[in-house]
């Protein structure tokens, strides 16, 4: 194990009766890292977090914190505070009493815990609400109380379970930068569970993508976005066009795929031993997919398509197209990039991308 590893999951399995919530997890969380665990509901991300917090016991495997196994340590003996989706603030305590709670449980003296709680209130810019009841606070203020309450013990790690899900869109964005700055300033390891791609990708150093109790991919947001490792990740992110076919040739220059949309070539398939005859899937980012009236030459794949719809979001447009065999293709471009291309429903066009922009993913 590396020195800068704070948490490691070693063959961790969690079963609830016959249901396997977490299938087998092996991964490490570095010291001072902002790690997001992302997936749709029921993928096991919250169970993973709860095992780390000590609220669920793993059925198999070992979880280590700073090298020591913590499987049998009850949650109150671990320093793994959590920010809850519901926030779970104590309604019968006021703001400063909520923040003091963990210190009180650790038998910190009255004056000392008040002083430390006030420091955190100050840091979270909610000092003026110290004497308020929780019910008198806005959503964003409650969020800050919940953070202060968990951070007051100055832990090595903070667990966050979809903490922003109850906030409106604008506040969400503001709290994201508050969280990111807080993490950077304190150097505390954040483990952040979310189903929101924008939250995970905008804050995290590394993202874990989970599906049906398994890790699909771990990597930096850039890596995952550009080169989804599995078909699931590509579909889940929804930012790539996906083609599945059979490998017809594989050599140093790249891989040839025979797909329903036509033969496709890619040059970055060396990661995978794509033997001819095997089934394989190619992904290409919708922002790297281009449109043209005539098939362009050069090292590109071009597919004849028909336009079926368009959607404008601010400065970019998403064009929906269909291949001859009925597969949907998306192209995302700025309005300038689309200038000169007739965008009418039913228009015959070519969707194309450079060989180097395609990626092979493992088949399910």
């Amino acid at each position: 194990m590396k020195n800068d590893t704070l948490v490691s999951f070693e063959g961790v399995v969690k079963r609830f009766g016959d249901f396997v919530a977490v299938k087998r997890m092996d991964f490490e969380i570095g010291k001072g890292e902002f790690l997001a665990i992302m997936g749709s509901s029921g993928c096991g991300k919250t169970t993973t977090l709860r095992m780390l917090a000590g609220l669920e016991a793993p059925s198999e495997g070992v979880i280590r914190l700073s090298g020591k196994p913590i499987n049998d340590l009850p949650t109150w003996s671990r320093d793994t505070p959590m920010v809850w989706q519901s926030l779970a603030l104590f309604p019968f305590l006021n703001v400063v009493e909520n923040v003091e709670f963990a210190l009180k449980m650790r038998a910190v003296g009255k004056a000392e815990r008040r002083r430390r709680a006030e420091q955190w209130l100050d840091r979270m810019q909610i000092s003026e609400f110290a004497g308020r009841n929780i019910s008198q606070l806005s959503g964003g203020q409650r969020q800050r109380v919940a953070l202060a309450r968990s951070l007051v013990v100055e832990p090595e790690i903070l667990l966050l379970d979809e903490p922003l899900s109850a906030l409106d869109a604008a506040l969400k964005v503001r709290m994201q930068s508050v969280l990111k700055n807080l993490q950077r300033e304190t150097g505390i390891t954040f483990v952040y569970v979310t189903h929101s791609q924008s939250e995970a990708f905008s804050m995290a150093d590394r993202v874990v993508i989970m599906s049906r109790g398994q890790i699909e991919q771990i990597g930096t947001p850039q890596e995952i976005y550009r080169t989804p490792r599995t078909r699931f990740v590509a579909d889940f992110l929804g930012s790539s066009n996906v083609f599945t076919g059979t490998v017809t040739a594989s050599d140093g220059g790249g891989v040839m795929l025979d797909t329903p949309a036509g033969p496709l070539r890619l040059t970055s398939g060396e990661r995978l031993a794509a033997a001819p005859g095997r089934s394989a899937t190619l992904t290409v980012l919708d922002t790297r997919t281009n449109l043209a009236l005539t098939a362009p030459g050069g090292p590109v794949n071009a597919i004849p398509v028909r336009m079926i719809g368009e959607e404008f979001i601010g400065a970019t447009a998403t064009i929906y197209l269909e291949t001859g065999t009925g597969q949907e293709i998306r192209v995302q471009k700025s309005h300038e990039e689309l200038a000169g291309i007739p965008l009418e429903i039913g228009q015959e066009l070519f969707a194309w991308w450079a060989h180097a922009d395609g990626h092979l993913v493992t088949e399910e």
């Binding site: 949650t75 505070p81 779970a88 104590f90 006021n94 709670f101 449980m105 308020r132 013990v153």
Partner: protein
Amino acid sequence: MSDRDTASINRNRAVDVALKAYIVLGYAFVFAPIAASFVFSLNSDRFPSIPLGEFSLEWYKAVASDPLVWQGLRNTLFVGVTVGVIATALGFGAAYTDYRYKFFGKQVYLALALIPPTIPVVILGLAMLAYLSRISLSGNALSVIIAHVVICAPFAMAIIRLRLSQMDPDLEAAAWNLGASEWAAMRHVIVPFTMPAILGALFITMAVSFDEFAIAWFVSGLNETLPVKVLGFLQGQVSPRINAIGTFVFVTSMTLVILAQILLTGRGAQIRPSADE
């Protein structure tokens, strides 16, 4: 458009008046006998009749100078307070068990825990008498306490269970996660959150015990509680003293019940004086 405007558009005047009349009549039906008893307790006449005689406190004085009444009151208070404390403690335990744990036969557990108040009191009283005398516990204050705890604990459980069901299910786990052991979480989170219901249950169970007659009559023996004493008086002679005692018992019970109501519905837990206001 305000709520009132919306409401007035969708209202039928005739139905409105009828509903109000229905409520007034309903309350009149319930409270008229009690009001009459109160009025006659302050009337100098020996027999309840109209027109009323002079205003008089003589029946209260008579009651206050009767050592038998004082003895009954002492028994009632002792039994009521003891029952309130024990029944609330038991009810809290039962409600928390229901809140915290899942186990085989939980539905049966709940049904059994809530059954006692549905058994006719005469049958319960008889059964208690038979049972307690068999184990040599009948005929004293302790036997009344035991019997009353049996009928009161389910009320306490129901009240506290309702409060626990309003608690954020993450709250207790959040306390553990912040370093509270299970006992500490009980003391610093569950009990404070449930406190309005605990006090409410305490007052309600005290009121139930204070008023309860049938079971006490069966098992109290010589240590009669006030309601049992009242029956004794009635059997001897009809006296306006009964009205005076009745008024006193009514006011006491209502005070307890109203206190409980304030605690349970008055958002007692949510509103706290703020330091900055």
